[in-house]
């Protein structure tokens, strides 16, 4: 019998690619270890639009990516129904845009296999009342929204259900090598401070932009191209259909409704690699996002903004374009044995949230080939945990015979069919997003929650308009009880409030500033922190 620190495959990186790869490997019967230095979906996986691309955005410039997108789009609707909102999307033409581009766009979509219907501006305004009333053209495509945190958590959970071991808040400090072969990794547990060694014949680098450094640790070079993208979150859904500009991709031209909010983005700026860990949104970026965003939906000019945040696109350097916009989002799967003569090491990078499953499939194929395992990928056919009963409306009707209460519906919206196992508990923890204490308990027990920030990614606690004002203290109390350490929970609560404040600060005026002041009273004066 294998030792407890020996695996078939070690996956570094708990973003969507790593979690998806862990799921695929585990479903093919491999013994899997997934290692993440922070929490799942902390990097680019959790810092994007949450757009379920139809591929239309890439149709004109990159047919290959467009085709991948539409194929994965259709797969995710099936396997991840509780993470996906099938909203559809518009590509709108404004008076200042070239209407001729529309024809080219539609033709490119169709040749990539993407349904693209030109609709009358009048009809577009009827279907999506928030859209700029001045539009002169609109094309409807099968865009949607996808919750990246939920998608990542569901992949991780399914990997665990198939026997994978998951270590979060654990950093790889060294790649263990013997000659030209990678043997495993050495890790540091950031919670306990424990150092450990783990062994496997195959190690997969799924570190996204941080994969650059992981590859360096293994002694190989993968040139990454960090491009910062800033986004703004608005306090409620202004639109229910994704709105894109029908022109060559540019700044702030996508508005995506996601869960209770909507998100405008992005910008694109080249940043030094060292800045990847601490992105800040500048006042200039906020101005640009608002000005351009209001052209898609004028209501944004008067809608409360909840947060500003930025992510780093994990692009692989391919050319000298200074903006990083024209680089293919194509998948890069490197077998370092073939490329660099380093055995037992694979890097999976490039790609995007939309194509994570395909990336995982490619990486798993290489791993299986190396391990001599002959099993086919089944991730495209098997629903993720939570998506077994179909979409939101179907799920609530199947779970409850009586009309569901608001918190039950909210739980089902987030966890899909898993909601049937979640009780109310003692009441609501997060009132903005209707998260019950039962759902918090469920996340703490099943979804690798070590801190309030982890909990937020699993449940949306603290993601609503109050940004932790009421819920952070309640949830911290529950975490203190579950971990048995009040000191740690209190420190965690301070960190959480600071993390929320970081996102509020760039847009803290008007009602948002009022809420910040109120939150400050509660935590500084009432609670006496």
């Amino acid at each position: 019998m294998a030792k407890s620190n020996e695996f078939d495959v070690i996956i570094i990186g708990g973003g969507i690619t790593g979690a998806g790869t862990a799921r695929d490997c585990a479903m093919r019967g491999l013994k899997v270890l997934l290692i993440e230095r922070h929490d799942i979906a902390t990097g680019a996986s959790g810092r994007n639009h949450g757009l379920l691309h139809s591929g239309a955005r890439y149709a004109v410039t990159d047919q290959e990516s467009a085709t991948e997108c539409i194929e994965e789009n259709m797969i995710l609707r099936r396997i991840a129904s509780h993470c996906v909102d099938e909203t559809d999307g518009f590509f709108i033409t404004l008076p200042e845009d070239d209407l001729d581009y529309q024809a080219k766009f539609v033709e490119s979509c169709r040749s990539a296999g993407i349904r693209a219907d030109i609709i009358d501006p009048e009809e577009a305004r009827r279907l999506e009342p928030s859209v700029n009333p001045d539009i002169i053209g609109a094309v409807r495509v099968p865009d949607g929204s996808v919750d990246p945190f939920r998608l990542c958590a569901a992949n991780m959970l399914d990997a665990k259900l198939h026997g994978a071991k998951v270590l979060v808040h654990t950093e790889v400090t060294e790649i263990l090598k013997e000659g030209d072969r990678v043997l495993g990794v050495r890790t540091l547990d950031h919670v306990t401070g424990e150092k450990s060694e783990w062994y496997a014949p195959v190690t997969i680098n799924a570190g996204g932009i941080w994969g650059h450094g992981i590859a360096e640790m293994a002694g190989v070079q993968v040139g990454m191209f960090p491009a910062k993208g800033a986004l703004l979150i608005f306090a409620h859904r202004v639109n229910n259909i994704v709105i894109n500009r029908c022109r060559k991709p540019a700044n702030a031209d996508i508005l995506v409704p996601g869960d209770t909010v909507c998100i405008i983005g992005t910008t694109s700026t080249r940043v030094p690699y060292e800045e990847c860990d601490n992105m800040k949104v500048t006042p200039e970026e906020v101005d640009l996002l608002l000005t351009e965003g209001a052209k898609l939906a004028p209501a944004l000019a008067t809608t409360r903004i909840l947060r500003a945040y930025a992510g780093v696109r994990p692009l692989v350097s391919a050319d000298n374009d200074p903006t990083g916009r024209n680089i293919s989002r194509g998948i890069v799967c490197l077998d370092h044995e073939e490329r660099d003569g380093l055995k037992g090491f694979i890097t999976i990078t490039g790609g995007k949230l939309m194509t994570y499953r395909l990336m995982a499939e490619k990486a798993t194929d290489v791993a299986c080939r190396k391990l001599g395992v002959d099993r086919h990928c089944a991730t495209a056919l098997t629903p993720l945990p939570g998506s077994e009963l179909g979409g939101f409306e179907e799920t609530i009707k199947k779970i409850w015979t009586m009309p569901a209460t608001t918190y039950q519906k909210a739980t089902a919206f987030r966890t899909g069919s898993s909601a049937k196992d979640i009780e109310k508990g003692v009441g609501l923890v997060c009132e903005c997003e209707e998260v019950s204490s039962g759902e918090v308990d469920y996340a703490i027990r099943n979804l690798e929650v070590h801190s309030l920030t982890d909990l937020r990614r699993r449940t949306r606690v603290g993601m609503g308009t109050c940004q932790g004002e009421l819920c952070a203290c309640r949830a911290a109390g529950m975490l203190a009880a579950s971990h048995g350490c009040a000191e740690r929970a209190r420190k965690d609560m301070r960190e959480f409030m600071n993390e929320r404040w970081k996102g509020s600060r760039p847009i803290a005026w008007g009602d948002t500033l009022r809420e910040c002041e109120f939150t400050n009273w509660i935590y500084n004066h009432v609670l006496g922190l």
Partner: protein, 370 residues
């Protein structure tokens, strides 16, 4: 409608001013745009408090503990000790940074998550004092539990205030030789009687500690002040908002409100006690911080990026923003003081606390009642 003094803002500063003036025979109207920050009180006042506070509050039936000129300490819901001056009678004050007890029981209604017992227990243990946390349940709370959002301070107080004897019995049953019982502030919503009754019934000191908002003792004190003001003949315009002020020759002529539309309100003197951002005494946009009613000069950093400190828990420059005044607390407009307008409370620029609010309020009261 004409009054001698019109006060914009019905919070701690506005109500205190109104009550003090009305007691001196000066007819006042208070315009209060909804409820106010007393509803989020910790049950304590920090900062230098004027002597008059204690007496005035007592006349309204509010007992304030502590010395207005000397610091005491309170135990906070996060388990720390914090310097304060005065406290509502619910709260126990300590002469030093250590609680007075040899053995502590924290008792919390079962399922009430707005009271972080783990933090309080941890704080007490760190002082080297043994401490147990127990929860209690009573039949009268059953109804609240059925709703997912109603196990909150005020909801619980409405139930428990009606069955203090049962609560006392229940807590006595939990006692095991402890000399201090810590309870959340979920007693005494309409009057302080339930707090007193509980103290009388239990053979140990009781310290009632703050919960997540709304604050039960804060609401009670607000209602007591408002009632005292009205009983003294004051006019409280609840839920109305001052929307426009006519200023001519350096004096305020009248005020218009949202509800009274064409019916103007005028007075000899006006007090601006409208608070900060939360209560919309100050407003902020992408570009600037302003005082919306009179268009007063505001002291605050010019650039938006300078409004904030990176650390959420550090002093925030925006929170020190406020109106500029001359030495008599007449606010400035385009650099000139408005002669019959005064500013009191947290609308004033600088560090804010209850002491500062009360000090400025009594200063204004003295000027007007001269």
């Amino acid at each position: 409608m004409k009054f001698q003094t019109i006060i914009v803002g019905g919070g701690l500063a506005g109500l205190t001013a109104g009550l003090a003036l009305q007691k001196k025979g000066i007819s006042c109207a208070i315009i209060s745009s909804g409820e106010n920050a007393l509803h989020f009180s910790s049950g304590t006042f920090s900062g230098d408090c004027p002597e008059e506070t204690v007496r005035l509050f007592e006349e309204a039936g509010i007992v304030l503990k502590g010395d207005p000129a000397k610091d005491s300490w309170r135990l906070t819901p996060s388990g720390s000790m914090q310097k304060v001056r005065l406290a509502f009678e619910d709260v126990t004050l300590y002469p030093s940074e250590k609680i007075n007890a040899t053995n502590v029981l924290i008792a919390n209604p079962e399922g009430f998550i707005d009271f972080p017992t783990a933090f309080i227990a941890d704080g007490i243990s760190q002082q080297g004092i043994p401490c147990k946390v127990k929860s209690f349940s009573l039949p009268c709370l059953k109804l609240l539990r059925e709703s997912p959002s109603e196990m909150r301070s005020v909801g619980i107080a409405k139930k428990l205030d009606g069955c203090i004897e049962e609560v006392a019995e229940c807590i006595k049953g939990l006692l095991d030789g402890e000399d201090l019982v810590i309870l959340p502030q979920v007693f005494g919503l309409a009057s302080p009687e339930p707090v007193r009754a509980l103290r009388a019934a239990i053979p140990a000191e009781i310290n009632f500690i703050g919960t997540m908002p709304p604050s039960v003792p804060g609401i009670r004190v607000q209602l007591q002040l408002k009632k005292a003001f009205e009983r003294a003949g004051g006019t409280f315009l609840m839920g109305d908002t001052a929307i426009m002020a006519e200023i001519a020759d350096g004096t305020v002529r009248f005020i218009r409100t949202k509800n009274l539309d064409s019916h103007i309100l005028s007075a000899d003197n006006y007090i601006l006690a409208s608070g900060t951002f939360f209560s919309k005494g100050l407003t902020s946009s992408m570009q600037k911080i302003s005082e919306p009613l009179f268009g007063l000069d505001v002291e605050c950093p010019e650039e938006r990026t300078e409004w904030y400190s990176e650390d959420f828990f550090a002093p925030q420059p925006y929170m020190a923003a406020g109106v500029k005044t001359d030495k008599d607390l007449h606010p400035l407009r385009d650099g000139q003081p408005i002669s019959n307008l005064y500013a009191a409370g947290s609308i004033l620029a600088g560090k804010k606390n209850a002491g500062m609010a009360l000090t400025s309020t009594f200063k204004v009261v003295k000027k007007i009642a001269l």
